[in-house]
């Protein structure tokens, strides 16, 4: 076909690629564009001298999201972000996490929270989230256990909604007992297993001759004594 004389002065737009004024292609522009908003979000909460979001930033984030700082959904967010350090989000963590959530604004993030809850609740994810919750509390280098006070709060936060009666009694016990001042990951994991597997409140199917951690054996004894004294 013989070339027509161009009617326009500038090159016609092509659906496949358009050269912009700076010469980069659309696809990467779109990418950067996507991160731009995420990054902007990040900057708005981050502590500039640290280069990451610190506890103050998280507080602000919570307020914008309309949730309490101590809400379990923030912990879930941290899990999603794979945040390594309690109270802080790095830029990478922020980027990867929000990208997965497919959000790039506060309002979208707010809307995504229920979805996130559902995701965490899936059996394939829950164990991971649950262990994460513990590790998130290990603030010192080489720290392997978490103090009782924090564990009680964590129990309330993580398991309170689903296992209210067990959690209340367990917290009561943890506070009165004196054998253990800290809880390790193994014990933490078994708290969940206890709530999931053991009948409550009769504790009928609890077998102390199995490998349950000693603290749970003691908890069961305490519970049984409590009930018998009625």
């Amino acid at each position: 076909m013989p070339p027509r004389a161009p009617k326009r002065k500038s090159a016609p737009p092509n659906s496949l690629s358009v050269t912009s004024s700076d010469g980069s292609s659309v696809s990467s522009k779109a990418k950067t564009k996507g991160f731009v908003r995420i990054d902007r979000m990040f900057d708005s909460y981050a502590n500039s001298s640290l280069g990451m979001i610190d506890p103050d930033g998280i507080e602000a984030l919570c307020s914008d999201l309309g949730v309490d700082c101590t809400d379990v959904r923030i912990l879930m967010l941290a899990w999603k972000l794979k945040a390594q350090r309690q109270g802080y989000f790095t830029q990478d963590e922020w980027r990867t996490g929000l990208k997965e959530l497919r959000v790039d604004s506060i309002s979208k993030l707010k809307k995504a929270l229920p979805e996130l809850e559902k995701e965490v609740g899936k059996p394939s994810n829950y164990d991971s989230f649950y262990s994460y919750a513990f590790r998130y509390c290990l603030t010192e280098e080489m720290q392997k256990s978490v103090d009782i006070e924090s564990i009680c709060e964590l129990l309330n936060l993580v398991l309170g909604a689903q296992f209210r009666p067990q959690v209340d009694l367990l917290i009561e016990y943890l506070k009165v007992q004196s054998d253990y001042k800290v809880i390790n990951l193994d014990q933490w994991i078994n708290f969940l297993r206890f709530c999931q597997e053991i009948n409550f409140p009769d504790l009928e199917n609890y077998d102390a001759t199995q490998a349950w951690p000693l603290i749970l054996d003691n908890f069961v004894d305490w519970m049984r004594e409590k009930h018998s004294s009625f």
Binding site: N184, Q210, P213
Partner: protein, 739 residues
Amino acid sequence: MNRKIIGLEEGLGYMQDGITKIERILEGRPEPPFNSEEYMKLYTTIYNMCLQTPPDDHTQQLYDKYRQAIQGYITSTVLPSIRAKHDEFMLKELVKRWANHKVMLRWLSHLFYYLDRHLIACRSLPSLKEVGLLYFRDLVYRDVHVKVRDAVITLIDKEREGEQVDRALLKNVLDFFVEIGMGQMNRYEEDFEAHMLQDTGAYYSRKASNWILEDSCPDYMLKSEECLKKERDRVGHYLHSSSETKLSERAQHELLVTHVNQLLDKEHSGCRVLLRDDKVEDLSRMYRLYSKIPLGLKLVADIFKQHITAEGIALVQQAEDAASSKASNAAAGVQEQVLIRKIIELHDKYVEYVTDCFENHALFHKALEEAFEVVCNETVAGSSSAELLTTFCDNVLKKSGSEKLSDEAIEETLEKVVKLLAYISDKDLFAEFYRKRLARRLLFDRSANDDRERSILTKLKQQRGGQFTSKMEGMVTDLTLARENQANFEDYLRSNSAARPGIDLTVTVLTTGFWPSYKSSDLNLPAEMVKCVEVFKGFYETKTKHRKLTWIYSLGTCHISGKFEQKTIELIVSTYQAAVLLLFNASDRLSYSEIMAQLNLTHDDLVRLLHSLSCAKYQILSKEPNTKTISQSDYFKFNSKFTDKLRRIKIPLPPVDERKQVVDDVGKQRRYAIDAAIVRVMKSRKVLGYQQLVSECVEQLSRMFKPDIKAIKKQIEDLITREYLERDKENANMFKYLA
């Protein structure tokens, strides 16, 4: 010569004649026996007829004739004669007829030998003898065997009641039962034995039911033993040997098994009572009777165990009661001595029972062990058995011990102590208490003699292994070395005029690892003693530069001269007591707080010390106010008015109660031991279920103590935290070893 053909009629005739002749002989009729000629003729006739060829081959008919003749004889003569009689007479007739029958068949087989051979060879028919026997079985036996059996059983029961019976007759009848089986035992077993056994069972069932109500246990056992013996005899005399086991079992069952509980538990004569009254012979009989009956023997063993346990617990209770009724320590100590002695005696007594009455049977050894494991783990007045045993040893081994025995008796006693240790589950507690007592004996020179100390250690080593005794042996050796060292120290002093401690000084250097742990004190030593310590340090540094000396003043002894008004008395006191007393060289009167400040002691220690010097038997110090207890507001003065008839007295200082410390130390050791055991097991198994892990640990540790399951659980958790183990992700009851 021409062989003449023998016709059938002729042949049959000959045969019949021969048979008839034999019958008549057996019937006892007047009939001359076969002479050679007659015999030869008959034999040859038959022989020739067998060789005749058809149409003169009549062997089949001859055979049939034979059969008919036998049959006829039995039917017409033999059977009726047996049937005509009854009971014993019938048996006699049967026996006679059977004997005759066998003879007859033998003769006929000889006579008609060739017929036999020929037929069997050609046509595989039953032999003449077999035919004869079969007829007897089918015609006679089938008819009379029930009556015969009943008659036999009646006689047996008669014999059981004590009457004399014709044993030879019975033997013959029973042999008949066996023989008529023709190679099989089934006629004997089904037609006779089974019924005999049933009758035996019924017979003894009746007897046992009466006896068990009327007789005492020993009497019942005697009767049973007799009966069983008689039944065995019976087999020897007329029953077939294969009946022995079945008969014994049946009789045993009725006599010993059916009423076993009633027998053993008889109120005034049962097993418990026999044990209580030491009826050794009856108990031996009981063992003999039940030795082949496992379930019965187990019952006896259980009663044995319960009996020993009860006796042991009673001894413990006695000691407990005595200890709580007397207030003073001395009395309590005596009770403990007595208790251990009594337990040893109890053990000796029942070991003899096991060897003599119970023929060393494993069940009874086990019963004894289990009983003592209970008895030896009881607590008396707060002291564990481990502690009691060490106190006992202490008394045997120390100079002033309450056990005044010959060397041999001591050796024996020590042996027995070591044996008892096997029953105690907390052996590590024993070891720790033993070390503490040993330390006091060695350091305060209370040990009676070194040989005895080494002797018991050797015995302990043999029983429990070298690791158990290594520290203790180290302690004894330390003392020997210390004596040498002291000699060297004295040489050093002599050759070194600058190094003068000013007082006679003996130092005992101990190897830390061997001895129990002692608190080193912050006591402010009197100046005189400070010099001593310096001098010794100087000496010690000439011997070795690599060792650190930690001084334990609480173990020291001091001889002090007390210059009282009446006379000077030498006081033998502990170093601490001496430190207190020496303060009064500089001051007349001191308050509690002043003493405390000058010496830097704890309240507990100070109260003890001051009490021993001012409120006990010898009041070296006088106290204001003059009460019997020490309070922090008291004042003390040197009691110059004190005196005693002796020139030298020892002021005892009651030792601190070590029990708590020992229990704590052992608790710590156990945690390490449990930890090590878990690691050992997991290292070799790599992956293991919780329950198995626990049971393997318990087994490994049981040599020294019985571990608390909770303690094991705790250590597992600790090891998880220390990342030696991890819980399996799929199965929470499984553990993995992390290399």
